[in-house]
Amino acid sequence: MSARTHLHLAAEIGGPPHYDAGHYLRLAELAEDGALDYVTLGDSFARPGLDALAVLARVAPGTDRIGLVPTVTTTHTEPFHVSSAVATLDWVSRGRAGWQADVSTTEAEARLFGRRRAAPPAALWQEAGEVADVSGRLWDSWEDDAEIRDTATGRFIDRDKLHHVDFAGTAFTVKGPAIVPRPPQGRPVTVLDATTAPAREAAARHADVVHIRATTPEQAAAVRDEVRARAAALGRDPAALRVLVALTVDLGDVETTPEPGLETGPRLAGRGTYFRGGPVDLADLIARWHGSGAADGFHLTPITPERDLERIVNGTVALLQHRSLFRTFHPGGTLREHLGLPRPASRYATARTAAKGA
């Protein structure tokens, strides 16, 4: 097991759909008060609810520090639009954007678009990986200092610092460059859920943050090691990966006594690992797992966000802070800073510097 890292905490704020911004704003503010790294907002074309990226853009001006990570589906959407929208979320939040790529697997979703049939998950995750890849390239396609505003020559940009990406994937091509200048974080944070095997491969290749499922710290550690090893084999630095255990939490009415048999840890249920107990028990679990090096942190999905997020922040997080296991405020301004991830240089700038040096 690897050395202990800073604890990272994130929370999902979706649930039964709401159609007003106030609901989501209150939850994001609550998570921000708890100094959480980020909130996620799930999305799918298959069930009622607003567009998640739009909701978090609406939330951005009302918050200061909290990271904003909407789910964005890559199956029936345009990679070029996806990368522009995520880059723009980074601009309007001043460097707090991430995105969780997901796929649309059903025939019902395919029929909403009418462009192609449903495909097996392996092909869809291969494509999602390519969308993450081309998005990274588009975000790099403007070097940081491309805008020069040089009145002497009348040039607004140095066009040698804008690059066509000329991406050819298995299902699409993109010429580039981006229409949106390089976002504040360089590249917004890419989050992927690595529960299934094809998703795990895409995560090892492209994710900055990986959500995993596990019912014991040993299992979490094993998955974390596997993802890190795979990333290293692909030439990535595993230290630039954060692995968070995804837990569905029900802090229900169990203030003190956890349900018998479940107090020692989460169990596998439905679409993930499920924890039921009190805020203190959850804090104990987080401290124990993180302390043993099993995970870099946790992504918590409250089954009733209005109730459980409040208990997470004022109960669980407060206790972890009291034990000096979690930060009490955000020392940085961007999501990358919260996660301790460096701001990447543009690959095109690096290539140019290297070419010059040669």
Binding site: P48, G49, L50, A54, V55, V59, P61, S84, R155
Partner: protein
């Protein structure tokens, strides 16, 4: 009178070299202009779109502002810092799909409590298509066929929930789209977000007459405006619509000064800045279809004829016949003894309304009274403070005379524009 604020675009109307020119991309710039527009009780705030960076001679065009954020995401953020202002996004009907875009527009309408608008533009060029899955482009003749079916389909989706919140399955089968299922968003506060059309061909006008709530036009002179206004309004009856069901709003520029003379001087200075020496060469290259980089901007125009359809410029909307334009420019240069740059300054980028605040207010009012427009989309030349003067000095005069509202009376964009509620087609 209806007024809208256009965020400065990526073209040479925007004078980035001015020391007061701020970021074209920071959220604070969008916030500044939107708050200014709301302070002025404007109907809406408008964002343009371009899905491929413009190229000239095979290289990315570098003389104008380049780069902007994605419209709908910016407008959702602006909904948080404004209360009544309409929020209009330009989004291409060629490179989007009805289900996703209808959902994003309905989302904006919910999150802004009824202030969303969609400027439906079309595209048929393969150059832009290179950024998209569809990879190619439409036959030019099909651009409005797709746009019209797109808007109709979006409206079917917006109507698929009953007004009291029951979702019902939809099914659309047409030449452009065959889709079915359930829409994820309940009917939004405006029922249907406001639809704007910007395109000038006969097909474009017909599409607007059949389906749009607002037309964004380029016809900014009194005569051209009246002709356009009469033409488009006369097309409405065929679709069972009333003249007031469609608002005509030309994009215009305004320069004010303490006196008319001062405003004229200022306007000339802005034009000189808009047409930098490099931009003058570029403008001539667009007409001549030829590399003119060896030409002196302060020297004479080329003495040969333009090369038609050279494709030297990509990603720009073209206007007019180059041979005719070149002939007109030469005649003007000869008559007035103008250099290449002087000719470009004289023939392009002329501001629509120049004068003291009182003069400008009177002229704007005359346009509306003379049936040349129902209002205006104001295109400032400075980011983000380019409408500060207009709002502080011209709007009060328009309000005083009763030509423009002094307070918002409704909360939705439809109510600001005086548009009827869309009839729910169950």
């Amino acid at each position: 009178m209806h007024l809208a604020a256009h965020f400065p675009g990526v073209n040479n109307t925007t004078v980035w070299a001015d020391p007061r020119s701020g970021s074209q991309i920071d959220f604070s710039s969008f916030e500044h202009l939107a708050r200014t527009a709301e302070r002025g009780k404007f109907d809406f705030f408008f964002l343009a779109e371009g899905l491929r960076l413009r190229e000239h001679n095979g290289r990315i065009h570098d003389l104008d502002v380049v780069g902007r954020p994605e419209s709908l995401t910016v407008l959702n953020a602006l909904a948080a810092v404004t209360e009544r202002l309409g929020l209009a996004a330009t989004v291409n009907a060629t490179f989007n799909e009805p289900y996703e875009l209808a959902r994003r527009l309905a989302t904006l309408d919910h999150l802004s409590a009824g202030r969303a608008a969609w400027n439906v533009v079309t595209s048929s060029d393969a150059f832009t298509g290179e950024n998209f899955r569809r990879g190619g482009y439409l036959d030019r003749a099909d651009r409005y066929v797709r746009a019209a079916e797109f808007v109709a389909t979006a409206r079917e989706l917006w109507d698929s929930w009953t007004p009291d919140g029951v979702s019902r399955p939809f099914s659309h089968e047409g030449p452009q789209f065959t889709i079915s299922g359930e829409f994820t968003v309940p009917r939004s506060p405006q029922g249907h977000p406001v639809v704007i059309q910007a395109g000038d061909s006969d097909e474009g006008r017909e599409f607007a007459a059949s389906a749009a709530d607002v037309i964004f036009t380029r016809h900014g002179t009194l005569e051209a405006g009246r002709a356009f206004y009469a033409d488009v309004k006369s097309r409405l009856a065929a679709y069972g619509r009333q003249p007031d069901d469609l608002r005509i709003m030309p994009g215009v520029t305004v320069v004010t000064g303490d006196t008319d003379a001062e405003a004229q001087e200022l306007a000339y200075e802005i034009r000189r800045r808009q047409v930098s020496p490099q931009n003058a060469i570029l403008a001539a290259e667009q007409v001549w279809g030829t590399d003119l980089s060896a030409y002196d901007p302060e020297g004479p125009l080329p003495d040969f004829d333009p090369v038609p359809d050279s494709g030297i410029t990509q990603g720009r909307v073209r206007h007019g016949d180059p041979l005719e334009t070149a002939a007109r420019w030469r005649a003007l240069a000869e008559a007035k003894g103008l250099s290449l740059r002087g000719t470009v300054i004289k023939t392009t980028a002329r501001q629509s309304f120049v004068g003291s605040p009182a003069t400008v207010a009177a002229e704007l009012t005359a346009f509306v009274d003379g049936r040349a427009a129902d209002g205006f989309i104001l295109v400032p030349h400075l980011t983000p403070g380019g409408l500060d003067d207009f709002v502080d000095r011209v709007v009060p005069i328009l309000q005083e005379s009763g030509a423009f509202r002094s307070a918002y009376t409704g909360s939705t964009l439809r109510s600001h524009l005086g548009l009827p509620e869309p009839v729910w087609k169950g």
